[in-house]
């Protein structure tokens, strides 16, 4: 093979391409690592100074007086996210079941991409629709300012639909056709087959879909700011205005300086930890409980 002129340059090119890819991949990871490092570097001093517990459990947020407690925002994120799940999960699952198990193949071939397209609509558009349609509607029919937990939950519930639908759809499609046929051959109706065998078999994927949807709801900022009212108080009802962790950062970053700025980075740390935990759980469910065959 020594005389083969193609041999050496090919191997050389392969090596160059491989090394380049390694460098690109590593630098992408490095950038992420640096961002995390930066957030922790900027945010941790104030957490250490105030005390992690007091920062997280403090009910008062008054940056001008140097009081930094993010409990209202933590509750805000929890309420809004829970509300989004209550709205988004049943709708999303019903839609995924319909597309995967009941719709004719041609209908789901059109509808599935259409649903995924929803994920591509910028969040400010969702927020805008919420602002001009939903907020006045809630103010008029339910009372309160309209800017509320409810408004944010509805907007987010719709925004997480594409995530929940497409991931749980894939989970349903991964269930062997033999399970469905096996149930139908026993005389089961389509719905019995879904309820008794297909849903349990797809459960790990459904849980992963819910958790990823939850991650999206926790992380969403723009649409929430536009409809939530953003008061730094623990909401007293679903019609009360609310501020989430992400809104807190986005709203005040523009003018914050010194300790205030550090406190916003510390908010970022809390957010980072929450989302990392959610993703970790999703990953565990997605790989751990997979059905054999």
């Amino acid at each position: 093979m020594e005389g083969d002129p193609m041999r050496y340059p090919m191997r050389y090119r392969e090596a160059v391409i491989e090394k380049t890819l390694v460098i690109v991949a590593l630098s992408a990871i490095a950038v992420l690592g640096l961002i995390i490092l930066f957030i922790f570097k900027e945010g941790s001093p104030i957490m250490a100074r105030i005390g992690v517990i007091r920062f997280i459990a403090g009910a008062k947020w008054a940056p001008s007086r140097g009081v930094f407690g993010i409990l209202p925002m933590i509750w805000g994120s929890i309420w809004v996210t829970l509300g989004a799940l209550i709205i988004g999960v049943p709708l999303g699952l019903a839609c995924a079941i319909f597309l995967a198990e009941m719709a004719p193949a041609r209908a789901s071939a059109i509808l599935k991409p259409a649903v995924e397209l929803l994920a591509g609509i910028p969040s400010v558009v969702y927020g805008f629709i919420g602002l001009v349609v939903l907020v006045p509607f809630i103010r008029r029919w339910f009372g309160g300012p309209g800017f509320s937990v409810l408004a944010a939950a509805i907007v987010l519930g719709i925004m997480i639909l594409p995530t929940i639908i497409s991931i749980s759809f894939d989970a349903f499609k991964a269930v062997p056709v033999a399970y469905r046929d096996g149930m139908l051959a026993l005389g089961a109706t389509r719905w019995q087959a879904i309820r008794m065998v297909i849903l349990p078999a797809a459960r790990p994927g459904i849980v992963a879909a819910v958790i990823l949807g939850m991650g999206r709801a926790v992380g969403e900022t723009m649409a929430v700011i536009m409809v939530a009212g953003n008061a730094t108080k623990i909401p007293s009802s679903i019609l009360a205005p609310v501020r989430t962790l992400t809104s807190n950062i986005a709203l005040e970053m523009g003018y914050a300086a010194g300790e205030h700025r550090e406190a916003l980075f510390a908010t970022g740390i809390v957010l980072f930890v929450v989302i990392a935990l959610l993703n970790l759980t999703a990953r565990l469910f997605a790989t751990g409980g997979r059905v054999a065959r």
Binding site: A105, D181, G182, T189, Q192, M196, V197
Partner: protein
């Protein structure tokens, strides 16, 4: 060949088309009750398709057109007012690959009864036990009914699938190459089991193994390219076939 009383399923002039493909051609045949009938023939001859006509599983495939008449105890199963779920309760089916659901062993059997409206545990327990006993699996699994059925061996999973069909209370059991994924020992267990089943049920088995048909069936139907070539008592079909194509197949020169 049989008097009307002995016939469980009767097929007259059955034609089936997959789109443009004429897969079953003018099938006319009867399946006697409380006997085992084997359907043999080379791959693609239509034997599985014919089997799936009997519990209307072909309905699930798009572009299938079926003509002709199939009767169960004299009732047309393709009549417009037939409840397919009830039909499939009367005619149960076991598939080529064991389909153990990713549920507990207990639930795998119980779900079949639940499908037909039995829901309380006090009625389910005896059904599950009786079904598992009848397939000879009870003693092996009675102490771990709550564990996943996917941990059973393939042979046990196939027995479980038969138990599940029994739990629906069928009259006919269709077996679609039930042993092709199994080792010889498990195959023998299933064949012994078929002999037990025949006492209570009408059994129809599709098999690619001629030895299996010869060992384990009372009647044999030989099919070739969508047509029935020969039908008779198993011993006759194997020892003195009337058609030369049957002879070629059973002696291993065809297919």
């Amino acid at each position: 060949m049989f008097s009307n009383k002995d016939i469980k399923i009767d097929i007259k002039n059955l034609d089936l088309y997959y789109g443009p493909v004429h897969a079953l051609k003018g099938i006319t045949v009867s399946f006697p009750r409380n006997a085992i009938t084997a359907l043999i023939g080379p791959s693609g001859c239509g034997k599985s398709t014919l089997l799936r006509c009997l519990n209307r599983m072909n309905d699930l495939i798009e572009n299938v057109k079926i003509e002709g008449m199939v009767t169960l105890d004299g009732e047309d199963i393709y009549a417009p007012d037939v409840d397919v779920t009830h039909l499939r309760k009367r005619i149960g089916m076991v598939f080529q690959r064991p389909v153990a659901f990713p549920l507990s062993i207990y639930e795998n059997v119980a779900c079949a009864a639940r499908v037909h409206g039995v829901n309380d545990k006090r009625s389910l327990d005896p059904i599950v036990e009786e079904s598992l006993r009848r397939v000879g699996l009870w003693d092996e699994v009675k102490d771990r009914l709550g564990s996943s059925a996917l941990n059973l061996s393939l042979g046990q999973q196939q027995q479980l699938c038969i138990a599940r069909v029994i739990a629906t209370g069928p009259e006919v059991i269709l077996l679609d190459e039930p042993c092709s994924a199994l080792d010889p020992a498990s195959t023998l267990r299933i064949e012994d089991l078929m002999r037990e089943l025949e006492k209570r049920y009408t059994v129809i088995i599709v098999t690619h193994s001629m030895q299996q048909a010869a060992r384990a069936s009372d009647y044999t139907i030989f099919m070739l390219s969508g047509e029935i070539i020969e039908y008779g008592i198993t011993d006759d079909v194997f020892t003195s076939p009337r058609d030369s194509r049957t002879e070629s197949y059973v002696t291993g020169r065809l297919g």
